[in-house]
Subunit: 279 residues, 4 copies
């Protein structure tokens, strides 16, 4: 394992990181493969519970859903907030699935901590160092999405802001980078997966939904992500994507999810991964 | 003037923005050309005052300096914080130059507001929407740096988060984008200047220092920025760049600044701009 | 199937293309999965025959090797030329494997046609329209590599230069694009595979070797390429990569190739592809 | 001056290049600033002669026009060919302006040499090494356009293919690179100009027309190119752009060219360049 650190780090700082990481590795359970599924945004009780039941029945291992939504335009829907968190708690109680949900503002941290098992830091906030440090101090597991044009070194350094606070429960997430190609929303960079796994012991998750931008591409990209050796997939699922408040075109349908999950499991097996409780 | 808005905006929302912008335009003083100069980071009383005196004598129209520094690595110098703000206040009192300084965390806003005439939002925080909204509500002028791979539409939408709070004192800043070329740190995108000026009435500033990454490129890029029609330049200057805590190689020397400023003034004149009190 | 054509095409031209493609589709054999393997460059009789025997025994379906090499520097090894073609002919006679080899200059076409079953047009020549037209007129099958920063539309238009001459035996090849990320040589764009397959009936091949630039990444990227739905893989194999004249670090070892081929076959199966005589 | 060469070059090869470049430098006339203007494509006798007269009267120092046009689609207009060359010869005889015109296929070289003073190698052919070598052997001056995503090192290596044949009359041309930004056709990379001038003695020209893609951006980008220190500008001019066969929206009008030329001259002066007979 190679550790990427800035030249300004002292020998002592470097050694401390090495020790911390090695300890963490020794304590870690064998990581297999996580299938994290759920709607882009929490919209209503019915939508959340229907989706949670469906993905739970189909073998998802965590439930995702956004209560706070970072939107390019200030005039777009910004999420249900606290009410959304409450619905996620209900889904968790009902299905037993751990919850992954995004935090954008440190002032919402106490409310988010009441329900989240994994706090998601979105691509736009990957270098919001105040937020990363706060989440680090909370001790809660953190899934950090790679920024649209962040290098792997910058992603690892963002993770360092959490690790530095003594919080080793960090997952990295590739979700597509910005390139010249305009035929799709983002270019999913699957080379990042094996390269990150050479550079760090942290699990590497892939988000095919945001990269693809449309449903037809989600399954092939998921199979590729599983075959390339990712430790999990985080994917958007909705009971009625055409009615979704945001990102409808890229959300899988709940009624197609079981078939999808079965194929992802097959692809993961090619890379020596087993789909069941992970991370 | 064309206004870029997301499809989800209602007619009323669009009209409100149009009206607000037109009013602002009517009230605005004629914008000419701003030369904003100062060190990357506030390091010491001597460094700040020496630089402030030098750039003031050479005709700079604002003074810049960072008290809070966003650093890729958590182990790098993070800025002097409140002590840095105090030194900026002293430089302001001494020279009369308005102060531009960066804010990274909303909790530091009250302290920053005591000295800043323009609050800088850095490239990494361009889509930190909580921070943009807070700064919007403060009423203070805001300089928003374009993210490393942000489109012009995303930059304008970031500005909307400030404008939406009734704060029209927004300056946009091009500071280099990330491309495939590795022969220099970033690729300064000067096409953004005339295109932004077609899309918005907001002033457009160029930061040649961060794009270039080394001193020899700063002057040619500054002349180009002035000639392309920018409303100002924000540039790093240090009395002893080789001793600087960060970004030394890209900072101009105080003793070369007067010649530099004279040439920038010439280039701005080609584009019909006059270098004196602006914005 | 959607066909991408420029607005300047007349209705008649469009209809002619549609008809030609539909006819081709009707005549085509079911396409499965091709595993095209061999050294980057033809270096010696021993190297070529050893590699050909090894990949043939391990189930490769075509043999690749460069006699003419496009090199960034004019001072780098430029390939064995006609002597290289002779060695490829010997490998073909011995193993029965069809030959894929690159053409850079139309004046070498007659010599290349004597041995090539598929002529490769490299990424640098993807928009060398004179060369594409010549190869089109030859009637020989053509594998066109996507340029480093070519859009899918430009790749399809390059294919049109061949198709326009009445030659429908065209294979498209994704081989990595240029992005901001410098942690690896190129960014393999696997989203291109399902998107190209929506846009055209032409087979889509993936080259993981050039994208990765080093051996450890070739297998995970190959598995991903197979799982995403590619119609084949073109991969570099060498008996002694450390002694290779060029691209040694990215070439697989002949003695590891059989295991590699078996895993690729598994991954292709997940996407419903069968590895045996294809194209 | 630093020379970029591949590791595979021997000491002798490196020394030979150094000597050749130094000799060339010693012999060279002082290079000032070239204004190369003319239509994208040669369309008709009237169009060519009208434009040539206009740009000549306004102080252009060379005339450009394409007889062979590389087009993305095989169904688009491909240029007048030999007839186009004949019209360029007439323009040259009439105005005395040297001619810059593109070569795409080595077989057209003899015909092009009869009229061209500078042969243009387009961005798509920047790594067409056969073509570069042929042009190198011809001894004619060569303007090499940077590929859409070529690094400066690759551009310099393309120039080496010409220099290696003993032909030192090479001009480099920045014409915009491909980035994530879609608000304009290409991103003009003006940082390339001062960086290339550190790396090589070869003149560096800028093409603002192809980068911008529309007329309103051509003048600001031209002023920036002149101010950044370019050795010249190559720009498209047409008597009736709305009627142009290709690239109409980006061509300047002949009747606005004199004003444009005057402003470019001013901007060049800021960088210490004088607009008159150059190269």
């Amino acid at each position: 394992m190679m550790i990427v650190m800035k030249p300004s780090a002292t020998e002592d700082e470097i050694q401390a990181v090495v020790t911390r990481i090695e300890d963490a590795g020794a304590r870690a359970h064998p990581v297999n493969f996580a299938l994290i599924a759920g709607p882009c945004t929490v919209e209503s009780r019915d939508q959340v519970l229907t989706t949670a039941d469906a993905v739970n029945a189909a073998g998802a291992t965590m439930f995702r859903g956004g209560a706070y939504k970072p939107r390019t335009s200030p005039y777009a829907f910004q999420g249900l907030g606290v009410e959304g968190l409450r619905l996620l708690a209900e889904a968790k109680e009902r299905t037993g699935l751990p919850i992954v949900t995004e935090l954008m503002d440190a002032r919402d941290l106490p409310a988010v901590l009441e329900v989240a098992d994994v706090i998601q830091i979105g691509a736009r906030n990957m270098q919001n160092y105040s937020l990363l440090s706060e989440v680090g101090r909370s001790g809660c597991a953190v899934l950090i999405k790679r920024g649209l044009s962040s290098t792997l070194e910058e992603l690892l350094m963002a993770a360092e802001y959490v690790l530095k606070e003594g919080n080793e429960n960090v997952l990295l997430c590739e979700r597509g980078i910005r390139t010249f190609e305009t035929a799709y929303r983002f270019t999913l960079d699957l080379t990042a997966v094996p390269v990150l796994k050479e550079l760090t012991h942290l699990p590497v998750i892939v988000d095919p939904s945001h990269a693809a931008g449309r449903r037809a591409l989600v399954e092939p990209l998921s199979l590729a992500a599983a075959a390339v050796g990712a430790d999990g997939i985080i994917v958007e699922v909705h009971p009625e994507p055409d009615e979704a408040i945001c990102d409808g075109p890229q959300q899988l349908r709940t009624d197609a999810f079981a078939d999808y999950a079965a194929r992802v499991e097959q692809a993961a097996a090619v890379a020596g991964k087993i789909l069941h409780a992970a991370v």
